[in-house]
Amino acid sequence: METSDTEKQTLSLANENFQEDPPRAELGARDEADMLLLKIDGYEGPIEVLLELARSQKVDLRHISILQLVRQYLDFVERAKELRLSLAAEYLVMAAWLTYLKSRLLLPNEEVSGDEPTGEEMAEALQFQLHRLGAMQKAGDELLKGNILGQAVFARGMSEKLQVNANVQFNVSLYDILNVYGKIQRRKEYSEYTPVPFELMSMDEASERLTKMLGNLPRSGSSSAQSVWATLESFLPEKIKNPLYGRSTIAATLTAGLEMVKQGHADVRQDGLFRPIYMRATKRKPLKDECVEGVQ
């Protein structure tokens, strides 16, 4: 969809006559909105669209009519709504702000409270913003028109390097360094999860320990297979600093004790909920599985 030159002329004519001839101008603005909507994907944000609209006023950016710009922009947003095109939120925020600006511009200055910028000041700031951005875009174009190395001007083709102290010179830039540092950081974050090794007492360890200690308990009679009762705590290693390890010794020792009960090497007794647990060595037939389940 290309706009012919005549159309463009009509458009600019329409814009020039904006004040005197509102209906026609509306039409012009609508065409313009449609043109912009066609290109919207190329724009980075509402400021750029505003700049494009301001340029269509064909005057020095310092002298653009902000009111006219506001109308053009609001028309652009209206048209997008009519065509059911979804605009990014920032475009709508800009529209709201411009509506506000418009009302401020139309409001007599006296009614604005002291601290806030007046409509004129806000308009001036917007004008400055557009002017500055426009200037930077133009500067970019000018830069590209310059004598670009490798396009208009060429460096030595058979280039050599000056040797420094017979050392190797590496071709590495700050970018490389920053880039690689970023990658290290990223790698750390995505690297596969390696669980922190917990320091815990294993079942084997507890079982070995308990067997030894139960065997060393004094017997209740000279020929008795049974030892005296001793609390679970007395089987635990001493001076444990790490509380997590401490808890694991309790759990592992109790489990190891229960295993020994099943095998017929030990008895376990608890007189009530939360009361101390006692263990003693014994000698009887191993319990059968169903029996163990029954106990539990």
Binding site: G42, E44, G45, P46, I47, E48, E90, V93, M94, A96, W97, Y100, L101, P117, E121, M122, E124, A125, L126, F128, Q129, H131, R132, L133, A135, M136, Q137, K138, A139, G140, E142, L143, L144, K145, G146, N147, I148, L149, G150, Q151, A152, V153, F154, A155, R156, G157, S159, E160, K161, L162, S173, L174, Y175, L178, N179
Partner: protein, 209 residues
């Protein structure tokens, strides 16, 4: 070493390398008594009418083909990576407003910087981090490199197209637009305070929206 040999040596050095040579590097290779400045300007003058010319790039020197021959020299070009509009806009803002923080770039552009925009410029070695701004958060500033000057055929930053007019018209102000309106903020803030240090990330739009 006689003066002629000094000049020939300097010529050979400059001719051999593609990157501009800094005075430090050139002095290292010339005898102590050599007058580098005089030798350079003599060489520059000798080559004035030639197809290759001696040019200054940000204080460093290099031979380059004459600009008027650009269209005639058709070399096999390494494919030019076309710079996006956003990147070019960002590059000019950094070149003209440097040192400039990312927040200031965003103020000027009115959009937040996409990932990859500064990245590309950094990769091309056209920008580098400058001094941190001494404001809360101590943000990094960005400045242009000598390689930028070399690539765009500029002798110095003062050669940036239109720099004087831009400066004169106040367009190289890094502040959010609303703060540039003189009546609005404390009148006693005079012009010397133009690039004041306030790090206001909010653009004009955000403040009022």
């Amino acid at each position: 070493m006689d003066r002629i040999t000094q000049k020939r040596l300097l010529e050979a050095l400059l001719f051999a390398t593609a990157e501009p040579l800094t005075p430090v590097i050139m002095r290292e290779r010339l005898p102590e008594e050599a007058d580098l400045g005089a030798l350079l300007s003599e060489l520059q003058k000798e080559y004035e009418e030639h197809g290759v010319q001696l040019v200054e790039v940000g204080g460093a020197w290099a031979f380059r083909t004459a600009a008027d021959l650009g269209d005639l020299i058709v070399l096999e070009r390494n494919e030019e990576r076309k710079l996006s509009k956003a990147s070019m806009e960002t590059l000019s803002i950094i070149a003209y407003h440097q040192p400039v923080t990312r927040a200031e770039i965003e103020n000027i552009r009115g959009v937040s910087t996409n990932k990859g925009t500064l990245d590309i410029l950094l990769e091309q070695n056209w920008i580098k981090p400058g001094r941190r701004r001494e404001t809360p958060g101590r943000p990094v500033t960005w400045v242009s490199t000598n390689h930028f000057l070399d690539h765009f055929g500029l002798e110095a930053l003062t050669d940036l197209p239109g720099l004087d007019e831009l400066k004169a018209s106040g367009l190289l102000d890094r502040r959010p637009a609303i703060e540039t309106i003189p009546d609005l903020f404390d009148q006693e803030d005079d012009e010397s305070d133009l690039h004041q240090d306030e790090e206001d990330e909010d653009t004009l739009i955000m403040e009022e929206g």
